[in-house]
């Protein structure tokens, strides 16, 4: 019924539905998921299921746009009480600005992935259904359903079910190719994510035990009325935060992310890196900015920000050492997650800039990372491998793909006018403004390190000796290349979006001035001095990296290990650092060590939260 209505009703009428509108993005993927097992066979030359999913994704995009329009024009959060039952008894749906942005973002990214994957997961002519096609398309809708439920849910337990829906859908995607390594990666991901879920649930239980409600709005009212946080609430906040951090894979809890994101099929990697880890981050935002606003003690904020800074430095450095393109991108995700957590130490005195910057980072990274993973998939498919050292010459066969990869990279580095630039400018300004200049420094260094590994990749691409046949084994589909390019361009041109649209961030929360912050950040972005000031460090880094490249005397055959011999001084320095970093990363990703980090973090957070209570 929703479907039919969507097809015939003009777009504008949708926004008149009010809160009921929220049911559409919640239920659309669920209905798709339920119908999927019945849709067998080929259709229009591909899989019926793939085409059906695409149609559903288009409808989902319309619905997300409608929600965003309604939220922005109405300038207040949409709310809906399911079954007409008011909380605390019933469950509410709510779309504030943040939800609307996330809904829209996931609709766009999943639609792009859906277009990309039409070719990868079509049904061969001699079959009506294959394992990979059914599993991929169903779980894609499962992920979508979990994401939308996580963005709209206003009840801590509903959110728990949404997280589980997300996890159960995401994990099998990792192991879709069925090799032992990816099975191990999926199992590791599942078990760590389950640990995160159960800690989250424990926190929700303690909230219920204290206030007999799980509704976010009601909890916020009751907690803000407390003279001091009760012990159960302190414990609950610590448990939920740590549980969600484990699912977000914030350093040092990133043990599962690199193998899982690198081992999944490229479209799945794109979804996992761009969206799935963001859902748990989004719930951390909900927890600290909606459930317990004002309870964020400086100590807590410093811990989260410190971990974020650690993630930026560590993730980028380890990424620099990766020999495989997909692993490099996965470690880049570890680093980029770090930026999200810088907003906590900034939020206390610069909430507008921090939240706007955080949301921009979510969007920009999602677009850029999805583009990069899918570009890497096209490269790997065309060349039959994704060893960075053997990428030489592939620019001739995949010019469009590499262009997209590069443009997405520019957003990660943070060049104007990309979303990355906006994020970094907003966060750096906020850091300087709040007297935490070291955070600004971390951001700058992070950008340079990002530039370094991108130069490293492109150095090999442009100047490396072609080791593989010039002709691709399987040329990428035009639609695939275009969709990757579109995502990359989206990330790059985010800064040119009219600032008024960023007011979406502030809908539903008082005292924010998102569009003003964005306008300030973009002011003067294209002045010559500013441009030069941003570009020359990159040039230096580029020269240093190119100096490290062993391409003139590259050994034949191309070993899969990274170059540790080099003529330049920077090469030796990087090699020394690498010998320190890689064992450190291996150690941190040992299960017991990661567990130890998690426990320490849990106790430290509990202590930190109680310092201000």
């Amino acid at each position: 019924m929703d479907l039919a209505a969507l097809l015939v009703t003009p777009f504008a009428r949708l926004t008149e539905l009010g809160g009921l509108l929220l049911v559409i993005p919640l239920m659309l993927p669920v209905v798709g998921l339920l119908l999927a097992p019945l849709l067998r066979g080929r259709w229009l030359g591909g899989g019926l299921l793939g085409r059906f999913t695409l149609l559903l994704l288009l409808l989902g995009l319309v619905a997300a746009l409608a929600v965003a329009t309604a939220v922005l024009t109405g300038d207040e959060a949409l709310k809906y009480y399911l079954g007409g039952w008011l909380p605390p008894l019933g469950v509410a749906l709510k779309a504030d600005g943040l939800s609307a942005i996330m809904l829209l973002l996931s609709a766009v990214v999943i639609l792009a992935v859906g277009v990309y994957a039409q070719r990868e997961f079509q049904v061969p002519p001699d079959a009506s259904e294959t394992r990979a096609s059914l599993v991929f398309w169903m779980l894609l809708m499962g992920v979508w359903a979990g994401l939308n439920a996580a963005f709209l849910g206003q009840d801590l337990f509903t959110l728990f079910v949404a997280l589980e829906l997300l996890t159960f859908s995401a994990v099998p995607l990792v192991a879709l190719d069925g090799r032992a390594e990816t099975l191990a990666a999926a199992l590791r991901y599942l078990l760590f994510a389950l640990l995160g879920s159960v800690l989250y649930l424990l926190g929700a239980v303690l909230f219920y035990g204290t206030y007999a409600t799980l509704d976010i709005t009601l909890l916020a009212e009751r907690i803000s009325g407390e003279p001091a946080l009760p012990p159960a609430v302190i414990a609950a906040a610590a448990l939920m935060t740590v549980g969600l951090l484990a699912k977000t894979a914030l350093f040092p809890l990133h043990l599962w992310l690199p193998p899982a994101h690198a081992g999944a099929p490229p479209p799945a990697s794109a979804i996992l890196s761009a969206l799935v880890v963001k859902a748990s981050f989004f719930l951390i935002l909900r927890l600290w900015f909606d459930v317990m606003p004002g309870a964020l003690t400086p100590m807590t904020a410093q811990i989260l920000g410190g971990l974020g800074a650690g993630a930026i430095l560590f993730g980028n450095l380890v990424a620099l050492r990766q020999a495989r393109l997909k692993l490099l991108i996965a470690y880049s995700t570890v680093a980029q997650i770090g930026y999200l957590f810088l907003i906590f130490p900034l939020a206390a005195r610069a909430e507008s800039a921090a939240l706007t910057g955080g949301m921009l980072q979510v969007v920009a990274h999602a677009l850029a990372k999805a583009a990069m993973f899918m570009a890497a998939g096209l490269i790997a498919k065309a060349l039959g491998h994704d060893r960075v050292r053997d990428l030489g010459g592939c620019v001739r066969v995949l010019p469009l793909t590499l262009l997209a990869f590069g443009l997405a990279g520019l957003s990660l580095i943070g060049l104007q006018p990309s979303g990355g630039y906006l994020t970094k400018t907003l966060l750096t300004a906020a850091a300087d403004g709040t007297g935490q200049g070291w955070l600004g420094l971390v951001i700058q260094v992070g950008g340079l390190l990002t530039a370094a590994y991108l130069f490293w990749v492109f150095g090999h691409v442009l100047f490396g000796v072609p080791s593989t046949p010039a002709m691709p084994i399987k040329p990428p589909g035009r639609a695939q290349e275009l969709v990757v390019l579109a995502l990359a361009l989206g990330a790059l041109l985010l800064g040119l979006v009219p600032p008024a649209l960023f007011d979406l961030v502030e809908v539903g929360r008082a005292g924010l001035e998102a569009s003003a912050a964005v306008a300030t950040a973009m002011a003067g972005a294209f002045g010559w001095s500013k441009l030069w000031g941003d570009v020359w460090p990159l040039l230096v880094v580029g020269l240093l990296v190119l100096g490290m490249l062993p391409w003139p005397d590259r050994p034949a055959g191309g070993s899969p290990r990274p170059a540790t011999t080099s003529l330049s001084v920077t090469g030796h320095w990087a090699a020394d650092l690498g010998t320190l970093l890689e064992p450190a990363d291996r150690g941190l990703r040992q299960w017991p060590v990661a567990g130890l980090s998690l426990l320490i973090l849990l106790l430290a957070l509990a202590a930190a939260i109680s310092t201000g209570a």
Partner: protein, 319 residues
């Protein structure tokens, strides 16, 4: 009251002892056997906590299906499981983690002791809002009316889980019969059990669903019992598991949640809200939803146990 306290203390100690055994024993098989016993005790504890609905779920799920799943897994893993116990982290790390876990426990214990004294509760609110739902069992009211979305999402969650289980199949086996169910040697005792028990299980399952509207019970409990009976028949070899490509089976898997959504959506017009029930028709609609959901959940739970498709022969047999 003292005898009750003795019962409770005995249960608590036993459960802790078994948990310790599950964690600390050397071989996985022993741990699993301990866990089965643990599940039994948990069912009794739920009774002591006045949560009979939960006790039924735990009895059916915890002791029946989970035991089957884990024991089967432990047996199939036994050949591969060489000295994994010895690859524990070093003593120092273990002690450190142990201390931190103890700290977590102590912190939680303190939190439990410091929970607000007149415990906040939704019990009276549920009681006040139960009449419009027409059901007499407050747990069913909460699951199917007040928090229907959780139940809906939760029955949907089972589907990706099942797809996840299927997804580890080998490509050529796709769409075939599931192959993870244990196949014991022909035993007349098992055959007799599988011939005699299922009708009674079906009666109990239907009873739990029907009666769950007003008394403890409900679709999860009923569906678990039905799934268990189905599995028993399959294990005994009286029937073959269906091929997973069969359309009837696929329909069975999704019909429950689809009907739920359909009735929920009709509530938009008939009762003013998604997942609301028209006045006076709440109970029949709830029972209808429960009936179809029971079938879907039972099929899904059974197939979760039956494992990924294995072509025409079960995984692990030598042909």
């Amino acid at each position: 009251m003292t005898n009750a306290l003795i019962v409770d203390a005995a249960l608590a100690l036993l459960v802790l002892g078994l948990a310790l055994w599950v964690i600390a024993t050397r071989a996985a098989y022993r741990a699993v056997v301990g866990f089965v016993a643990y599940g039994l005790l948990m069912a009794i504890i739920w009774v002591r906590l006045a949560a009979v609905d939960v006790a039924m779920t735990e009895a059916a799920l915890g002791t029946g299906l989970t035991g089957l799943l884990l024991l089967g897994a432990a047996a199939r893993l036994a050949p591969y499981e060489t000295a994994e116990f010895d690859r524990r982290p070093g003593r120092g790390l273990r002690v450190l983690i142990g201390l931190l876990c103890a700290a977590v426990t102590l912190g939680l214990a303190a939190v439990v002791l410091l929970l607000p004294a007149p415990a906040p509760s939704l019990a009276s609110l549920v009681a006040d809002n139960l009449p419009p739902t027409g059901v007499g069992n407050p747990v069913t009211g909460v699951l199917l009316a007040h928090r229907a979305i959780d139940t809906l999402l939760e029955s949907v969650v089972l589907l990706p889980a099942l797809i996840g289980v299927w997804s580890v199949a080998a490509n050529p086996a796709w769409g075939g019969r599931p192959g993870s169910l244990p196949r014991p040697p022909a035993s007349s005792a098992l055959t007799l059990l599988a011939q005699v028990l299922p009708p009674f299980g079906i009666l109990v399952g239907i009873h739990l669903v029907w009666n769950g509207a007003d008394d403890p019970g409900g679709k999860f409990q009923g569906a678990t019992v039905l799934a268990a009976m189905w599995i028993l028949v399959l294990i005994a070899g009286l029937r073959e598991a269906p091929a997973l490509r069969e359309r009837r089976l696929r329909v069975l898997l999704v019909v429950g949640a689809l009907v739920f959504i359909g009735i929920g959506a009709s509530g938009i017009w008939l009762a003013g809200a998604f997942l609301a029930y028209p006045e006076g028709y709440a109970k029949p609609l709830i029972l209808a939803i429960e009936a179809v959901l029971t079938l879907s959940i039972a099929a899904t739970l059974g197939l979760l146990l039956a494992g990924p498709p294995a072509g025409d022969r079960p995984i692990g047999t030598t042909s």
